[in-house]
C-alpha cells in the first residue's frame, strides 16, 4: 500500500487540487421532456364550484383569452429536479470554494442556521398586509435589528426597504434630493461628488436621481484627491457619495475633512458602506461626519448572495433626515410594534412592502450569534486575513499593490498584474480564467481600469490560514505558468464546465439571443 497521503504533498506543501468543475453538458430546459409529461399537478376545482360558475371566462372578451397554451416544456418532476441539480453543481457558490476572489463582494460564510430560521412557516407564510397584531414577531426583528445598525453606524434611523446596495445608494440620493427640495435649494444644488474607487452605482444612481456627477480620482498615494475635491465643491454641491475604505482597500484618513468640506458648502454626505467588513466596531459613519449611509446585508451581514439577490441595502440617516426615509418605518410604543406611515416628507416607496424580510432576519441572527466582541473579531480577522494574503500575493512574480508604499490595507486589495502583462502578454482576466481551473473565483475590477490589469481579492473572516495559503498557491501557480507556459493560460479554461466562449455574437444585434425563443428564430434564419 502506498502512502497516498504523503503523495499529496511536495516539500511539505500540499499539491494543488486536481479540480474539475462539474460538467453535465446539460441541454437547455426547453429541449427536455415529452408532450404529456407533468412536473406538478395543481388542485382541481371542486365540482360544486364548477357547476355553479359554469363558464369561468364569462365576460372576458375572446381577444383576451389564450386558447393555445404557452409553449412551455412538458417535463416530469424528477427530470426537472435533475436538470436544476446539474445546473447548481455547475455553479461555484461560497459553500463550495475558497471565495476570496470576488473582491468588493464580501463572500463570507452564510450560516445555515439563519437560512433555516428564515424558512420557517412563521415567516414564509406571512402576508405583508396582515393586521399588525398578527406580525408582531417579524416587526420585532425589524425593530431589534434597527437598534443594532444604529449602534454600529452611530446614525439615528434605518429603513430596510431598498432591495440591495445600489437601491440603497439611489434611496440616499433621492433623500438628498428631497432634503434640498424641502429647503427650496434644489435648483441650485444639482451636483453629486463621488470617487472613481467607489462603486459604479454611486455615480449611476446619483444620475438617476437627477444629479450631475463629478468623479474624483486618486492622488499618487491612492487616496481620493483632496485638492480635486476642493475644486469640485461649489454652491452647486448637493452631496458626496463615497466608499471608505475604497475598492482598493485603502482607508481615506482625511474622510472627516472630506465631510467637513462638503458640509461647509451646505451639502450632505452619504457613506456607501459596502466595504464595512473590516471596520465593524472600529469606526463609524457618525464620527466620520456622514448624514446618510447604507450597509449591504448580503455582504457585511452574511445573508447569502443568491446569485445576485434577493437582498437588502439597509439605509441609515441622521435625525434631521428621518422625515425623508421611505415609508413605512417600524416603530415600537413600548407595547406593540407597528408600521409608521407618518412621514409627510417621505420619498415614498422604494420597493414594495418592507423589503426582503428574510434577509433582515438572517442578518439579525448573524449579529446575535456574535455580539459586539464577535463583530469586532469579524473586522479584525477580515483585516488580518487580507494583510496576510497581501503578503502572500506580493511574493508572486509580476504582481503589485499600487499606491501606498506602506503595505497595509483594510479588508481587500486591488492588485495590478501590469508587470506580468508586460513580461508575458497575459492579461489579468486570463489569469482569472485559468484560476477557475483550480476551483476558485477571481475578479478583475469595475470599469474603468484605473489600476492597470487589475485584480481585487477580499478574504473576509471566513477562511482559514491554510485556505488563504491554498488560494495564494493557486494564483502563484497561474502566474508561474504565465511566465513558463503562457499558452496554457491563454487557452484556459481546461477544467471548466465549458470552453472558451465566443463573445462576438453577444454584442451583435443580429446574432444575440437573450432567450431560447430568439435563438430558435435566429438560428432557423441561418444568421446565428
Amino acid at each position: 500500500m502506498n502512502n497516498i497521503t504523503a503523495e499529496r504533498f511536495v516539500y511539505g506543501k500540499p499539491n494543488l487540487r486536481r479540480f474539475h468543475q462539474a460538467k453535465w453538458d446539460e441541454p437547455i430546459i426547453l429541449e427536455l421532456g415529452q408532450p404529456g409529461q407533468r412536473g406538478i399537478l395543481v388542485p382541481e376545482v371542486e365540482k360544486a364550484i364548477k357547476s355553479q360558475v359554469g363558464n369561468p371566462f364569462k365576460g372576458i372578451p375572446a381577444s383576451l383569452i389564450r386558447d393555445d397554451p404557452p409553449k412551455l416544456p412538458e417535463i416530469s418532476q424528477p427530470a426537472v429536479l435533475r436538470h436544476y441539480m446539474h445546473l447548481s453543481q455547475e455553479t461555484l457558490g461560497v459553500d463550495c470554494n475558497i471565495d476570496v476572489g470576488q473582491g468588493t463582494c464580501t463572500m463570507k460564510y452564510s450560516p445555515k442556521i439563519n437560512d433555516q430560521l428564515a424558512s420557517m412557516d412563521e415567516l414564509t407564510e406571512l402576508h405583508p398586509l396582515q393586521d399588525e397584531s398578527t406580525v408582531q414577531g417579524i416587526l420585532e426583528i425589524y425593530w431589534r435589528f434597527e437598534q443594532i445598525l444604529k449602534e454600529i453606524s452611530g446614525l439615528d434611523r434605518f429603513s430596510f426597504q431598498p432591495g440591495a446596495g445600489s437601491a440603497a445608494i439611489y434611496t440616499n440620493a433621492s433623500i438628498i434630493r428631497a432634503y434640498f427640495a424641502s429647503r427650496g435649494e434644489l435648483n441650485k444644488r444639482d451636483e453629486i461628488i463621488t470617487t472613481i474607487f467607489s462603486h459604479p452605482s454611486d455615480a449611476a444612481c446619483a444620475k438617476v436621481a437627477g444629479f450631475k456627477v463629478i468623479t474624483i480620482y486618486p492622488d499618487e498615494d491612492g487616496y481620493p484627491d483632496i485638492t480635486a475635491l476642493k475644486e469640485a465643491i461649489s454652491e452647486h454641491t448637493a452631496g458626496l457619495l463615497i466608499t471608505n475604505p475604497e475598492d482598493t482597500g485603502i482607508y481615506n484618513p482625511k474622510i472627516a475633512e472630506f465631510t467637513r468640506l462638503i458640509h461647509d458648502a451646505g451639502g450632505l454626505c452619504s457613506y456607501d458602506q459596502a466595504n464595512a467588513n473590516g471596520i465593524l466596531g472600529i469606526t463609524r459613519a457618525r464620527e466620520a461626519g456622514f448624514d446618510l449611509c447604507h450597509f449591504n446585508l448580503h455582504k457585511t451581514f452574511s445573508t447569502p448572495h443568491g446569485c445576485g439577490g434577493p437582498a437588502v441595502g439597509a439605509t441609515g440617516v441622521t435625525r434631521e433626515l428621518i422625515p425623508f426615509l421611505p415609508i413605512p418605518l417600524v416603530d415600537f410604543n413600548g407595547e406593540i410594534y407597528f408600521l409608521n406611515y407618518d412621514l409627510p416628507d417621505s420619498i415614498g416607496k422604494i420597493r414594495s412592502f418592507y423589503g426582503v424580510s428574510q434577509a433582515v432576519l438572517k442578518a439579525y441572527a448573524w449579529v446575535m450569534s456574535l455580539g459586539a466582541e464577535g463583530l469586532r473579531e469579524v473586522a479584525e480577522i477580515a483585516v488580518l486575513n487580507n494583510n496576510y494574503l497581501l503578503h502572500k500575493i506580493l511574493a508572486i512574480r509580476g504582481v503589485s499593490a499600487p499606491y501606498t508604499k506602506r503595505k497595509r490595507r483594510i479588508e481587500q486589495v486591488r492588485y495590478s498584474w501590469e508587470q506580468l502583462y508586460e513580461e508575458t502578454g497575459i492579461h489579468s482576466d486570463e489569469i482569472g480564467v485559468r484560476a477557475a481551473d483550480f476551483g476558485v473565483h477571481y475578479w478583475t475590477s469595475h470599469h474603468p481600469y484605473v489600476v492597470p490589469e487589475p485584480c481585487t481579492l477580499e478574504p473576509t473572516e471566513s477562511y482559514s490560514k491554510d485556505e488563504l495559503d491554498e488560494y495564494a498557491a493557486i494564483i502563484e501557480n497561474v502566474a508561474n505558468e504565465a511566465y513558463t507556459n503562457p499558452n496554457l493560460v491563454k487557452n484556459a479554461p481546461h477544467n471548466s464546465t465549458i470552453h472558451t466562449i465566443d463573445h462576438q455574437p453577444l454584442d451583435d444585434p443580429k446574432q444575440w439571443c437573450i432567450t431560447w425563443r430568439a435563438y430558435q428564430r435566429k438560428t432557423q434564419q441561418g444568421s446565428g
Binding site: V45, Y84, S110, A372
Partner: protein
C-alpha cells in the same frame, strides 16, 4: 485538542495562536498596526453597545423561534389578502433548488465558474419569454414596481420624450415608487378611469395623449383586480401618437389569458412572486421586463441580459452578457440607470416553477383561479348590502367588495373577521377614498370551496 477560550465557529482564524502566527509572518506587532490609516479621533473608544450574543446555535435558534412564534400565519388563519403579494402554492422543488448552497451562495462569478447560474437565468428568461411571447427578458430586477418604473424610463429614452401616462386605478405604492423614480425629469399624467368598467377612459386618453407622450401604461389585470378590456385599443392610440405601450401583467394568469404582446404591448413588466416564491412578508417580490428583440429596445435595458453563444467546442452551449456596454458596470453614470444585486435567485426559482407547471399546469392554475374567484364573487354578491360590482368588468383573482351599505368600516369588518381567524381583504378606504368603504379580496388555487364558504358565512355574520 486545545481549549484556548472563546472560538467563533464562523471565524477560523480567531484562534490566538493562529493570529499570532499570521501577524508574525506579515511583520505586524498587533492587529492595531493594520488600522494605522484610521485616525485616532475616528476610532470607537469603547465596544459597541449590542445585546449579549447567543453563542451556541441552539440558543440562537430558541431566541429567534420565540420571537417568530408571535406571528400568526396564513397557515393558521384563512387569508384573502393579495394587492401585490399572493398566496399561491410553492412546489417543493422550488424550495429545494433555491436552497441549494451552490445557487444560494453564488454571486457574480464568470461563466467559467458559474456556467450553471448563467444557464439557469437564461432559461428563466426563456420560459418567461414563452409565457409572454416576447424575445427579450431581463435578469430580474427588485420587484414589479421597479420593473414598471424602469420600463417607463426606457420608453422615455427610446422615444426621446418626457411624459408618461398612468391609470388612476394604479396601486398607491406602485404609484409612489414610480413618482419617486421619475420625479426629476419625467412628467406623469394620470388617466381617468371608466366608471363602469374601471378600465382607462378611452375618450380621456385620446384627449390627453399627444406627441409628447413617451408611454401609455396600464395593468392587466389591474391592481384592483379587473381586466382592462380595451388593451388593443389603448395600444393603438398610444402607437398613433408614437408612444410606447407598457403593460404590467400577473404572470400566473398567462396560461389562460392572452399575453399583452398579442394586443400591442411594446414592453411588458410584472412581478414573478406568484411563480414559486413564498410571500415571506414581502420577501418574494422580483420584477421582470420583457420586450421585442429590437436593438432600440435592448440597448435601453439597464439590467443584465444573458445570451446564449457558442464556445470553442462544437455543440457546447456557452453564455455571457449581451451588450454589456449599456450598463453602469461598464460606463458608470453613462450607462442606463444602474445594475447591481437585485433578485436573481427568485428568477431561477420562477424558472423551476414554469418548468414544473408546463403548459397544462399554467392552464389549470389560471382556470382554477378564475373558477374560484368567480364563485366567491357570486356567493358574496348574495350577501345583503355587499357590492361586488364596483366595476362591472370580469376579474382575475381579485375583486373589490364595497361595504358602504352596511354602515360599517372595512377596519371594523376586518377586525371581526380576524376574531374568526380570517384575514380580510386589503382595506382600500385610505388610498382610494372615492371608493368608499371598499376592500380588495384575493382568491387563488389554495382556496377550497369550504374556505370560500367560511369567508362568506363570516362576512354574513359580521355585516349583519
Amino acid at each position: 485538542m486545545v481549549n484556548r477560550g472563546r472560538a467563533y465557529p464562523y471565524i477560523p482564524n480567531s484562534d490566538p495562536t493562529i493570529k499570532a502566527q499570521m501577524l508574525k509572518e506579515i511583520d505586524a506587532k498587533s492587529i492595531e498596526d493594520l488600522y494605522n490609516d484610521i485616525p485616532k479621533e475616528l476610532r470607537l473608544n469603547q465596544g459597541l453597545d449590542l445585546p449579549a450574543p447567543l453563542l451556541s446555535e441552539y440558543e440562537l435558534r430558541r431566541h429567534v423561534e420565540k420571537i417568530l412564534s408571535q406571528n400568526y400565519t396564513t397557515k393558521q388563519c384563512l387569508s384573502f389578502l393579495g394587492a401585490g403579494c399572493y398566496q399561491h402554492y410553492v412546489p417543493a422543488i422550488c424550495d429545494e433548488i433555491n436552497s441549494r448552497g451552490e445557487f444560494l451562495t453564488a454571486y457574480a462569478g464568470e461563466p467559467y465558474d458559474d456556467h450553471g447560474r448563467f444557464q439557469a437565468l437564461f432559461e428563466y428568461a426563456s420560459l418567461m419569454a414563452e409565457l409572454l411571447e416576447m424575445d427579450v427578458v431581463n435578469v430580474p430586477t427588485y420587484d414589479g414596481f421597479q420593473a414598471a418604473a424602469t420600463a417607463l424610463r426606457m420608453a422615455c429614452r427610446i422615444t426621446g420624450r418626457e411624459k408618461v401616462l398612468l391609470p388612476e386605478t394604479l396601486g398607491q405604492d406602485m404609484l409612489s415608487k414610480i413618482r419617486d423614480y421619475l420625479k426629476y425629469d419625467i412628467e406623469i399624467g394620470m388617466l381617468k378611469h371608466d366608471a363602469v368598467t374601471g378600465g382607462i377612459d378611452l375618450q380621456y386618453l385620446e384627449k390627453i395623449v399627444n406627441s409628447d407622450s413617451a408611454a401609455v401604461f396600464f395593468e392587466n389585470p389591474s391592481y384592483l383586480g379587473f381586466f382592462e378590456l380595451n388593451g388593443k385599443k389603448i395600444a393603438e392610440i398610444a402607437h398613433e401618437h408614437g408612444a410606447i405601450c407598457v403593460v404590467s401583467v400577473d404572470p400566473i394568469s398567462l396560461g389562460v389569458i392572452a399575453p399583452p404582446a398579442r394586443y400591442g404591448a411594446d414592453i411588458v413588466v410584472g412581478d414573478i412572486q406568484p411563480l414559486g416564491m413564498h410571500m415571506a412578508f414581502g420577501s418574494g417580490q422580483a420584477g421582470f421586463i420583457a420586450s421585442r428583440d429590437e436593438e432600440a429596445y435592448v440597448m435601453q435595458y439597464p439590467s443584465r441580459l444573458f445570451g446564449i453563444t457558442p464556445t470553442s467546442v462544437k455543440g457546447e452551449y456557452g453564455f455571457g452578457d449581451v451588450a454589456y456596454e449599456r450598463t453602469s458596470f461598464a460606463r458608470r453614470e453613462e450607462g442606463n440607470e444602474w445594475v447591481g444585486t437585485a433578485a436573481a435567485l427568485w428568477g431561477i426559482t420562477a424558472g423551476v416553477y414554469l418548468a414544473l407547471m408546463g403548459p397544462q399546469g399554467m392552464k389549470d392554475i389560471g382556470e382554477g383561479i378564475l373558477y374560484r374567484s368567480n364563485y366567491a364573487r357570486q356567493e358574496i354578491s348574495k350577501i345583503h348590502n355587499l357590492n361586488v360590482d364596483v366595476f362591472r368588468s370580469p376579474n382575475f383573482k381579485e375583486f373589490i367588495i364595497n361595504f358602504d351599505e352596511t354602515g360599517k368600516k372595512v377596519s371594523e369588518i376586518n377586525k371581526a373577521l380576524l376574531e374568526r381567524k380570517i384575514f380580510g381583504g386589503k382595506d382600500l378606504s385610505h388610498n382610494f377614498p372615492w371608493m368608499g368603504e371598499s376592500a380588495l379580496y384575493c382568491f387563488t388555487e389554495v382556496h377550497t370551496k369550504d374556505d370560500i364558504d367560511q369567508l362568506v358565512s363570516a362576512l354574513r355574520e359580521v355585516v349583519a
